[in-house]
């Protein structure tokens, strides 16, 4: 069983991403959506936590949400792969279960 976790809130004001990182399992995926895409910012206070899990968890971010917020690719962690809404659908299909960190 593998799970796709979605996180939709900024990790700087809210604990959802941090809690997700502490609960996801090797082989799981974490998809950053909406304000969650700020979690992909390199050089931020959350970047080390994300990078630390990148070895055994796959990270994704919605590209539309990243562009809406003016986050250029060179400011974002390379380990966090950009996907569109179609990629989001593929990820939900690919993983056995989806858990939203609301």
């Amino acid at each position: 069983m593998s799970t796709l976790h979605t996180v939709n809130k900024s990790p700087f004001g809210d604990g959802a991403l941090k809690s997700c990182l502490e609960h996801c399992k090797p082989g799981d995926g974490v998809l950053l959506i909406e304000d969650g895409v700020y979690g992909a910012l390199s050089g931020s206070t959350i970047a080390a936590d994300v990078t630390a899990r990148s070895a055994d968890v796959a990270f994704y971010r919605l590209d539309g949400d990243s562009k809406a917020r003016g986050l250029p690719a060179d400011k974002l962690l390379g380990d966090v792969k950009a996907v569109g809404y179609d990629g989001f659908v593929d990820l939900v299909a690919e993983f056995d279960c989806t858990q939203s960190w609301l």
């Binding site: 593998s2 799970t3 604990g15 609960h23 399992k25 279960c97 858990q99």
Partner: protein
């Protein structure tokens, strides 16, 4: 696939400040009628939902915490509470209300529904579900 799915209801929010805790409980009460394998997870601020001695007279909002004690009658008997979440908040298991269920396979013995688990056990529980609904 068997006819029964594993449903996990994840509670990460405190009660009363927002309605999510109450409306989550309303879902669980309905879900109980569907004969699925139901578990509830309480972590992060969700552990606050289970504190004992809640008294809402002063804020004019309905106290729904007694409803948790009725869950056993609905055969909802697995309430997983994360120990680290309690610790971070300065709470102990004894600060939570007692919630019991009667085990019909064990001469109707009363057993506690709240099971304190570690963060790592909570992660295992989360990963072992068919459907995860978050509130």
């Amino acid at each position: 696939m068997s006819d029964t799915k594993k449903f996990l209801y994840v509670n990460r929010k405190a009660p009363y400040g927002t309605i999510y805790a109450l409306e989550s409980l309303e879902v669980v009460l309905i879900a109980a009628a569907f004969d699925q394998d139901v578990s509830l997870a309480f972590l992060d601020d969700g552990v606050f939902q289970l504190t004992k001695g809640q008294d809402t007279d002063g804020i004019g909002v309905k106290n729904f915490s007694p409803t948790f004690r009725a869950l056993g009658d609905y055969e909802v008997t697995k309430l997983y509470v994360e120990k680290e979440s309690l610790d971070e908040r300065g709470l102990e298991p004894s600060d939570l209300q007692e919630i019991m269920w009667e085990d019909e396979d064990d001469d109707w013995e009363e057993k506690p529904s709240i099971r304190i688990v570690s963060r790592s056990e909570m992660a295992d529980i989360m990963s072992d579900q068919d459907v995860v609904l978050s509130f």
